[in-house]
Amino acid sequence: MTTRRIGSRLVQYGLHALLSAFFLLPLAFMFVSAFKADEMQLLTDMGSLLAFVPYGDISFANFAKVFQNTPYLRAFVNSVGITALTVGLGVLVNSMLAYALARFRFFGRDLLLALIVALIIIPFEAIAVPLLLLVNELPWLGAEGLSIGWLDSYQVQVIPFIANAFSVYLFYQFFIELPRDLEEAALMDGASRWRIYWSIVMPLSKPVIATVAILQFLARWGDLLWPVMVVRGDTYGTLPLAMQTFFGQFPREWGSVMAFAAMATIPTLALFLAFQRWFVSSAISSAIKG
C-alpha cells in the first residue's frame, strides 16, 4: 500500500469520525439526559462534554415519571394500532387496484392509470383543510349507534390514509415487470382471479410490499399535522401529539422530556436496525418516482 493510499484512508476516517459525531451526539445526548435524575446536574452538564456522559445520579426515575404523568403508554398503543392498520389495509387495497391496472384490459383503464399518476402530485397539505371540513360531516356507525362527525376517533386517523396513489404506482410498476407464465397457467387450471392475486402475485411481491410499507410507516408514524387538527384529548392521541403536549407543559422537566423522547425513538430505531436492508431499497424505489 502506498503512503498516498494510507493518507487518503486517514482523511476518510477523519471525516467519518466528524460526521459520526454530528449524527450521533444529539441522540447520545437524549439517551444520557433521560437517565439523569438530577435536573440541576443535567442543565449544568450542558456546558461541557459531560452532557454526553452518563454519570452522577443515574436512574430510571425520569422514565417512571413519564409513565406516571403522561399518557405515553396510551399514545404508543394508539400510534402502533393506527399505523399498523393504515399500512396493512393500504398494502391490500393499493395492490388490488394496481393488479387491476396491470393485468386487465378494461374500458377506462388508460384513463384511470393517468388519473392515479396525476394524483401523486397532490400533497396532503393541500387538501388537509377541506378534508377537515369533510370528516366533520361524515357519519359513523359505532358501538353507540349512528353518529355524525369523525373528529376525535381512530377512523379519522386511519381511513383517509389507506389508499395512496404513489403506493398504487409502485405496485403497478412492480406487477408489469413480473413474468405472467405462472398466472396464465393458473388461469388455465381454472383458478379464480382473487386466488391468483392472493396466492401467486402477492407472495412474489415481497420487495415492493416492504417498500410501500416502510414509506407509509415513516409518513404515518411521524405525522403531526393531521393529529393536531382532528384529535383533542389524550384518548386518541398518537406519540408525536403526546410529545408536543408534554413538551409544551410547564414547569418543564427536561429529564422527563428526554425520557419521553427516548422512549418514542427506541421502537422506530430498533425497527430500522432490524430491517435496514429494506429501508435502503425503499429509499431507492422512491427515487424511481421522478
Binding site: Q12, L119, I127, A128, F279, G290
Partner: protein, 303 residues
C-alpha cells in the same frame, strides 16, 4: 348463465379496483375539488345561523396577497428552500461518496448517518430545542469554542433572526440520510468500467468525479433537489413543536405556509381563507414538479 358469467368477468377488474378507488375519490379527489371551490367562499369550520356561507369571488385571494403573515410564511419557505436544498443535497452527495468507498467499517457509518431518519421529527425538534437552550446550552458552548469566544451565547429559538437557521440545521440533520441512500443507489448504478477507462487515461480522482460521476448522477441530482424542495414547502412538524414550546420568537419569523394554513383553517376556523392558501400551496408544488419534468425531458433530448 353464460351472460352472467361475462358480466362477472367484465366486473372483475372493477371489483379489484373499487376499494382503493372509492377511498381515493372520497379522501383525495373530493377534498381537492372542495379546496378549489371553498377558496371562493367564506366557509367557516363551525357554521352558524347568523353567518351563512356565501360566494365571495376572489376576495380570499386578494386578501391573501395583502396579508403580511402570508408573505412572511412564503418568505420563510423560500429561505428554507434556497439554503437547505443546496446544503442538504451537497452533504448527502458527500456522505454517499464517502460510504461508497471500499473502507472497513463503512457499513457502520452508513447506518449511523441514516439513524436520524428513523427518529420521529417531533422528537428531533425536542432534542434540538434542548441543545439550543440559551446561556449554557450545548450549541452555544460549541459555537463559543469554535469561534474562540468571539461569538457569545445566543437565544437561538427566541431570536427572530436565528430561529429559522436553527430549524434548518435540525431539518438537515434529520433528513440528509435518506438522500444519501438515493445518491448511493445512483452511484452504484454507474458502470465500473467507466472509471477503469478513465484511470487508464490518467484521470485524477477529481477529474473522474467531475467528468463521470456528476454527469452520470444528473437525474438523481435533479430528483433529490426537487423532492427536497417540495419537502421544504411541506415544512410543519419542526416549527409546530418549536412554536408550541412556549419559548420562541414571534411567529411570523418562522411560520411556514402549512402552519399558517392550520392557524387560519383550524384555529381561526376560516376554511375559505385557508382553502385559498391551500390552492396557492398546491400551485407552487405543481410548478416545481412541472419544472422537474421539463428539465428531465431536456436532458433526454440532449443526449
Amino acid at each position: 348463465m353464460k351472460r352472467s358469467q361475462t358480466t362477472l368477468a367484465a366486473a372483475t377488474p372493477w371489483l379489484f379496483a373499487a376499494p382503493a378507488l372509492v377511498l381515493l375519490l372520497v379522501f383525495l379527489v373530493l377534498p381537492f375539488l372542495m379546496a378549489l371551490g371553498l377558496s371562493f367562499t367564506n366557509q367557516r369550520l363551525v357554521t352558524s345561523e347568523q353567518v351563512s356561507t356565501a360566494w365571495v369571488g376572489a376576495r380570499n385571494y386578494l386578501r391573501l396577497f395583502d396579508d403580511e403573515s402570508f408573505w412572511a410564511a412564503l418568505r420563510n419557505n423560500f429561505l428554507f428552500v434556497v439554503i437547505v436544498v443546496p446544503v442538504q443535497s451537497a452533504l448527502a452527495l458527500m456522505l454517499a461518496l464517502l460510504v461508497n468507498q471500499k473502507l472497513a467499517g463503512v457499513r457502520l457509518f452508513r447506518t449511523i448517518y441514516f439513524m436520524p431518519v428513523a427518529t420521529t421529527m417531533a422528537v428531533v425538534a425536542v432534542i434540538w430545542s434542548l441543545l439550543y437552550s440559551p446561556d449554557a446550552g450545548v450549541i452555544n458552548r460549541l459555537v463559543q469554542l469554535l469561534t474562540f469566544g468571539a461569538v457569545g451565547p445566543q437565544d437561538w429559538l427566541r431570536d427572530p433572526k436565528l430561529v429559522l437557521p436553527a430549524v434548518m440545521l435540525l431539518s438537515v440533520w434529520q433528513g440528509v440520510g435518506f438522500q444519501m441512500l438515493v445518491f448511493l443507489a445512483g452511484l452504484q448504478s454507474i458502470p465500473g468500467d467507466l472509471y477503469e477507462a478513465a484511470r487508464l487515461d490518467g484521470a485524477r480522482p477529481w477529474q473522474q468525479f467531475r467528468y463521470i460521476t456528476l454527469p452520470m448522477l444528473n437525474n438523481t441530482l435533479i430528483f433529490v433537489m426537487v423532492t427536497t424542495t417540495i419537502y421544504a414547502f411541506q415544512l410543519f412538524t419542526q416549527v409546530q413543536i418549536i412554536s408550541n414550546s412556549g419559548a420562541s420568537a414571534r411567529v411570523d419569523s418562522f411560520r411556514t405556509m402549512v402552519m399558517l394554513m392550520v392557524h387560519e383553517g383550524f384555529r381561526n376556523g376560516k376554511i375559505g381563507y385557508a382553502s385559498a392558501l391551500s390552492v396557492v400551496f398546491f400551485l407552487i408544488v405543481l410548478a416545481i414538479s412541472v419544472l422537474q419534468r421539463l428539465v428531465l425531458r431536456e436532458e433526454r433530448t440532449v443526449r
